[in-house]
Amino acid sequence: MANHTHVQNPKVDVQYRRKKNAEEMKHQIISFTLMIFLTLIAFFAVGYEGFSAWFAVPFILLLAVVQVIFQLYYFMHMSHKGHELPALFLYGGVVVAFVTVWAFLTIVWI
């Protein structure tokens, strides 16, 4: 099926695509900078004596979740159209894994 969806003349929308790519590049650089920044904060949170483990551990976990979202949406293109099914499977997997871990933490007590 893929070979039927070729664009007839690739030069037609080159302007549009260039603009789109530039915009995307901007997003990627912004999120990349943010990710480095978040990583620095995480290192700082662990290194700083004033924060106890009870604060630092959930805090860096939260930062990790934010980074995963950046990674998925800006670098792995989940923000684009046509990624509904991968998203469904990702979130399906997250739900199954979460319920499993949740069961262990609440009722099974391994």
């Binding site: 099926m1 893929a2 499977f89 199954v96 009722i107 099974v108 007590w109 391994i110």
Partner: protein
């Protein structure tokens, strides 16, 4: 080069199958390999039943009984049922969705060879110091204490074949999502394709826990780890959880395709649209989802506590609801239909009461308090044989008869098919129905013998007689296959005459490229719609043109062979100096083959329009 209709020598045929990336040939490979393992598992079952025919029997020793019992379960689940399900999927699904092949033909071949080498590795344990002997569940507290290398063969063999299954599952997910013909919306997919889709999703989520469990076990047994050893700070229950987080979805991985096969057969031979199609889809997805929420019902007696047991019991019982929806839909499909009792249809009709018995005993087992009585008794053995034989094996036999003409171009003999059916059906109920009562009377499972005077004699003798009926049925089936192959007549596109889905619109067997022109799908049961409008073939969605095909490759075979060699090396690395080097050489073979796969540009080849037209004229497609 096209390989259409060309006479070849034996060597060329073997090379063709070693290197093939064609889903139809891979289906045949799965069928042959899975069939051989099915016979092997059946042989082990016969040994078990002969040993248990009379009390205090000494046909085999206790230790050997443990090995036979373990290998029967492991072989039947991982090496017979799974590949036979994959055989059906490969043979049918790409054609059912109007595709020319699966999304990743190379990976399809790799998946098969990984399964095959994993299976061979596991079975070589018989000749290399003893087979695994801790049951197919291989609970860590038992398997860590096993003195032979059997468990190591189990761990490494299943790891390799599990990799193949995971690859196969991902391949079918991508295929079904991306390769459907124009017009084939999700809600127009045949039920077997839906079942394959949900099954593949279950494989994707269920096999990683098994992989993790097997890695832990490998570390403990071979590399000095202690994940499961309580004396060293490990926890032996973790294996049970990991195994059943995989193991329960695994049951649905087997039975959902079975449901799909029967859905096709009921609709075809009732000459009616499947009743309640959308509720069938809903039920399939729901069963798949709930399958992940119930693993602890295998562990009620471990001591999880009343809250966990109660929640898992209720979750388990909930699965009876979508399953019930399916049962009623099949009954209503037959209701008012013009039914033909062909061999596949007889399996389908027999499946309903057989599977319902297994389902009802399932709900009984799910009742946590009552399960303390049933646990580890023959009642459980009877239960899971009713669902797996009465569901999965019946479906595989039905599917083999149903799609045999599509796979090989010849119809299996209907008379012999019915003989097989009756022998197998009677033998199955004779073997396993009585085991419910043996269990309730207190006979424990997994014991190599029993004492006289406890009331178990008659039941066990009946059970053994039943097993011989099933063996006889299998022999008739094999004879049928041989006779059909030698004497059978070539058949046309739609040998059952009532085919509804796309696979019946192409020649039997389908040409290498499946469809000369990608079809346009105009509704559920696409081929039936065309037939009802008086058309002979499908409506094409594209002009006739050159068809792009993938090149065959030996690399999947080499990649799998490398892991096979590596597994031997690491298995013996504590006993022999050659172990570690052999293991490294094996890994290098695998990585080297993967490297070549990466650097060699392989653009495939084209079957030209003229060749396609000639092939179609020769009596291929209509």
């Amino acid at each position: 080069m096209s390989t259409l209709a060309r006479k070849k020598g034996v060597g060329a045929v073997i090379w063709d199958y070693l290197t093939t990336v064609d889903h139809k040939k891979i289906a045949i490979l799965y069928l042959i390999a899975g069939g051989i393992f099915f016979l092997l598992g059946g042989l082990e079952a016969m040994i078990i039943r002969i040993q248990l025919a009379v009390p205090n029997n000494d046909f085999i020793s206790a230790g050997f009984y443990n090995e036979v019992l373990t290998m029967h379960g492991t072989t039947m689940i991982f090496l017979a049922a799974m590949p036979l399900v994959f055989a059906m999927m490969n043979a049918v699904v790409p054609i059912q969705i109007g595709a020319r092949d699966v999304a990743f033909p190379f990976l399809n071949s790799l998946g098969f060879w990984l399964f095959f080498f994993g299976g061979v590795f596991l079975n070589l344990s018989w000749f290399l110091g003893g087979a695994p002997d801790a049951g197919w569940t291989s609970y860590a507290s038992l398997s860590l204490a096993s003195p032979t290398h059997g468990i190591d063969f189990y761990v490494l063999g299943l790891q390799i074949s599990g990799l193949g299954t995971l690859i196969g599952g991902i391949n079918f997910l991508v295929t079904i999502i991306n390769m459907r013909a124009p017009g084939m919306t999700y809600m127009r997919m045949p039920m077997f394709t839906w079942a394959t889709f949900v099954t593949s999703a279950l494989i994707l989520f269920a096999f990683p826990p098994l992989t993790v469990g097997l890695i832990f076990m490998m570390m403990d047994r071979l590399f000095g780890g202690n994940f499961f050893d309580p004396a060293l700070g490990g926890n032996t229950i973790i294996w049970e959880h990991l195994f059943w987080i995989f193991g329960h979805p695994e049951v649905y991985i087997l039975v959902l395709p079975a449901f799909g096969i029967f859905s096709e057969i009921f609709a075809t031979f009732s000459r009616k649209r499947l009743f309640g199609y959308s509720s069938m889809v809903f039920a399939t997805v729901l069963i798949g989802f709930l399958g992940f929420m119930v693993w602890a019902h295998h562990m009620f007696t471990v001591g999880l506590g009343p809250i966990a047991n109660a929640i898992f019991a209720v979750a388990t019982m909930a699965i009876a609801v979508p399953t019930g929806i399916k049962i009623f839909n099949w009954l209503f499909t037959m209701w008012g239909g013009s039914i033909r009792f062909t061999t596949p249809m007889m399996y389908a009709v027999a499946f309903i009461p057989s599977f319902v018995i297994g389902g009802v005993t399932g709900v009984m087992n799910a009742t946590a308090a009552a399960d303390y009585q049933y646990h580890d008794s023959y009642f459980v053995v009877a239960h899971f044989h009713y669902v797996i034989v009465g569901g999965v094996v019946f479906a595989l036999l039905a599917g083999a008869h149903y799609w045999w003409p599509k796979m090989f171009g010849k119809m299996l003999d209907e008379k012999l098919g019915k003989v097989t059916f009756w022998l197998f059906f009677i033998g199955f109920h004779l073997t396993f129905f009585i085991q419910h009562f043996l269990g309730l009377m207190g006979m424990p499972r997994r014991v190599f013998t029993f004492l006289p005077g406890q009331g178990f004699e008659t039941g066990n003798m009946i059970s053994t007689v039943g097993a011989f009926f099933m063996a006889a049925g299998t022999i008739v089936l094999l004879a049928n296959v041989v006779i059909t192959t030698v004497k059978g007549k070539r058949v046309g596109n739609d040998p059952w005459e009532d085919g509804r889905t796309l696979e019946w619109a192409v020649s039997s067997p389908a040409p290498e490229y499946n469809f000369a022109q990608t079809p346009l799908v105009r509704g559920l049961d696409a081929y039936w719609i065309e037939k009802m409008e008086g058309k002979k073939g499908l409506t094409p969605a594209e002009p006739l043109g050159d068809i792009h095909m993938p090149n065959p490759s030996i690399l999947p075979f080499v990649i799998s062979l490398g892991l096979f060699v590596a597994a031997f090396g690491f298995l013996f690395h504590q006993d022999h100096a050659w172990g570690t080097p052999v293991g490294i050489v094996g890994l290098l073979i695998t990585l080297g083959a993967m490297f070549f796969r990466s650097i060699i540009d392989d653009h495939g080849f084209h079957i030209h329009k003229e060749e396609v037209m000639e092939a179609e004229k020769k009596g291929a497609g209509a």
